[in-house]
């Protein structure tokens, strides 16, 4: 059955182009190549490989690959550029795996895809002893590359949420950078009371539109209040007082106006624009905002007027959700020994350092965050390190697509006032339990 059906899909995928030839071969019955193409888990074979990665907006990746290619003329890496949108990248990688194609060797995967790809055996399980740099990477990032305690990928870039704040206004009001939600609200009220120019500003916004960013912000609120969405054993445990406290912090923000009403439509860019236009006192966003908010071309009204800090939490520092990308090896690839070496090459301290200064992507190599020269180039590295060190991965589940949709449903309904927070969490718990046990 399996052979027949993968044949069917293949024929559909190739579509019009070679349909005649393909149909003939599909009618020819089962073929044996499907079993052998798996390779049985041995990471062997050397030669040219491909590297499937999302559109490289920094333009720096070709330089990294060229550095490898000049050292390994017989094991060249070819970049296969996928669309910029993460969902489209995943779709192409899934399609590649379902066709059991060897077109992609190394996959540049979003951290939340690991479980799905590992459970479907689309990527190889990796022996930890073959990756010497692994112990030097930030532990939380390595966790994102594991499924059921086994390693399936190597984290190459990371990302964590940062609290952007208006340093100028905080200084004028004489208040400290907040470490908790209560302090943040108090700081906001103090600024609004003491600084005339802050009149009409909102206190805080994150990303609350119904998309992946909402899962990130919802998880952060819950983790920062001591709750979990999915616990260590992989079970849903979101209907708890801690989780409720976290979610209520957000719903309260909306109902009191501390979070502007329009924030329910904010993705990263909408929030960034609001912060840059001086509408927000505090803003949760990713490190990429730093360089854009410092741009002196007139697009930002807050150049040199803001600072960054780790996220605040309920009674101490907050917990960020982890972003970033892991490199995995496709089960159906050729030359897997080369692929292992290439991943090691990209994970090495030297390459990650070059990558950080060239593309400003956050590294997974812990020591790089303390590099003085890099800290000068990226003033947010210290708070980012704190953010990533304390960060939690988003739920690591096989049906991530369904789980994140359920989380977004519950969070969106609670934030828009459609469902009371308690009810939203009870519903979510039921939904997640049924999605995860299956």
């Amino acid at each position: 059955m399996r052979f027949e059906r993968s044949h069917t899909r293949r024929a559909v995928a190739f579509g019009v182009a070679g349909s005649l030839v393909l149909l003939a071969s599909a009618c020819g019955g089962d073929s044996g190549d499907k079993n052998t193409s798996g390779g049985g888990g041995a990471l062997e074979g050397r030669g040219p490989i491909t590297f499937a990665t999302g559109k490289d907006t920094s333009g720096f990746l070709p330089k990294q690959v060229a550095a490898w290619n000049s050292q390994h003329p017989d094991e060249k890496v070819e970049i296969k550029e996928l669309p910029e949108n993460a969902n489209d990248q995943r779709q192409q990688m899934v399609q590649n795996a379902q066709n059991q194609s060897d077109a992609f060797s190394v996959l540049n995967m979003d951290v939340v895809w690991t479980s799905e790809f590992a459970a479907n055996q689309w990527i190889e399980q990796l022996p930890e002893d073959k990756f010497p740099d692994l112990p030097k990477l930030i532990p939380a990032t390595v966790e994102t590359a594991k499924y059921r305690d086994k390693l399936y990928a190597v984290p190459i870039t990371s990302d964590g949420g940062l609290l952007y704040y208006r340093k100028d206004l905080l200084d004028q009001a004489g208040v400290q950078v907040p470490k908790t939600w209560d302090e943040m609200l108090a700081a906001c009220l103090a600024v609004q009371a003491k600084v005339p120019s802050a009149k009409g500003m909102s206190c805080y916004a994150g990303q609350f539109e119904k998309y992946e960013g909402l899962t990130v912000n919802f998880s952060e609120a819950i983790n920062s209040a001591g709750g979990v969405v999915v616990d260590k054993d992989g079970k849903a445990n979101v209907d708890t007082p801690e989780a409720l406290a976290g979610l209520e912090e957000l719903t309260k923000g909306f109902s009191t106006g501390a979070i502007p009403k329009a924030a329910i439509t904010y993705k990263e860019e909408e929030g960034r624009r609001a912060f840059q236009e001086g509408k927000l006192l505090f803003h949760r966003n990713w490190p990429y905002v730093y360089a854009l908010a410092q741009k002196t071309d007139g697009s930002s009204k807050i150049v040199n007027k803001f600072g960054v800090a780790p996220l605040p939490g309920k009674s101490g520092p907050g917990v960020s959700s982890l972003g970033g990308h892991d490199y995995a090896i496709s089960k159906f690839a050729k030359n897997k020994a080369t692929a292992v070496d290439f991943i090691n090459f990209m994970a090495s301290e030297a390459r990650q350092k070059v990558n950080l200064s060239g593309s400003s992507q956050a590294p997974t190599y812990a020591s790089l965050y303390d590099d003085p020269a890099l800290n000068k180039q990226f003033p947010y590295l210290a708070p980012l390190k704190a953010s990533i060190l304390g960060a939690q991965p988003r739920p690591r589940v096989v049906k991530y697509g369904d789980v994140t949709a359920a989380i977004q449903d519950a969070a969106y309904n609670a934030l828009s006032g459609k469902t009371p927070p308690k009810q939203a969490l009870t519903d979510l718990q039921a939904k997640l339990s049924s999605l995860i046990t299956q």
Binding site: M1, R2, R5, T8, R9, A11, V12, G15, V16, S19, L20, L23, N87, Q91, V94, Q98, A118, A119, N120, Q121, Y147, R148, E209, K210, Y211, K261, A262, I264, T265, E270, V398, K399, G401, D402, A405, Q408, D409, Y412, S416, K418, Q438
Partner: protein, 349 residues
Amino acid sequence: MSDTAPVNTRRESKPGKARTSFNEGTARLAAVLLSPTLIVLALVVLYPIVSALRESLYTSGTKLDANGFVVKGSTFVGLDNYAAIFKGDTGHRFWTAFYNTTFFTVTCVVLETVLGVAMALIMHKAFKGRSIVRASILVPWAIPTVVSALLWKWIFQADGIANNILGTQILWSTDGWQAKLSVIVADTWKTAPFIGLLVLAGLQTIPAEVYEAAKVDGASVLQTFRRITLPLVRPALLVAVLFRILDTLRIFDLPFVLVGPHKGSVETLSMLGYDEAFNTRYGPAAAYATVLFLYVAAVAYVFVKLLGADVIGEARAKKPGGGSRRQRKRAAALAAAPQAGLTSVGGGV
């Protein structure tokens, strides 16, 4: 009928014997010449449909084994995928999407028809700068849907142009009536020109003498429009409306990009199927696609039967000869119309 009669006469005039052998040879030649087309059609139309129907009867990848790996292979589940669509939460979501799809179709097509006809009437008038007006009315139609969705998304932002002009603080992309309204506005803006274009083609086939006769008879503008323009442009209009109905029933990209996925107020049937396929559940996805396919087919059938949209030239052949003055006029106009020529060739085969 005036347009088919000459064809018949020509056939009748051929000598009997020669005609038979000629026809046999022609049939064989036609079969040979058409076979590549038919094979390609079978591959790109028939095969995917059959394949999707088959797929909809299976599930795969739903269970994990003891090691946490997805159990490979697929199981035949009969009509379970279809039954699941209508059950519980999924059923609620399905009927909401079904309602949305139907609501969008009815509202958008009505608005587009009214505006499209108005546009066509304007484009048809002879005045200075007519070509510029024609071109500018057609611009929205030329813009890809995804691009127009992004454009309207920008307009409907919290601090966007729409709120500025209206002086409101509406959050358009949030779940609710406002999201529906934004989709209707964007869809109407984009596709009313399509109806306008097809109706304009219909208008141009109406001979000027008919209008002159109406003028001589002292008909008012409204009378002329209701008694002459509308009936004579009806075949073209019905085809345009049918196309729009079929198009809107499978609306996907506009709500998906403009408002976003998983929002109950604008979720349509195509989006449900997409969601299943995105989560690699191809069986249920195929089931959704089949349900949508049947719905579209049923609507198209009813539309063609009830309103007699003249898609393949059947309706005209069935009409009895003679009839009222209006019908005779219509037939005459149709004979002159370019699409009438096309359909009679189609009928001949």
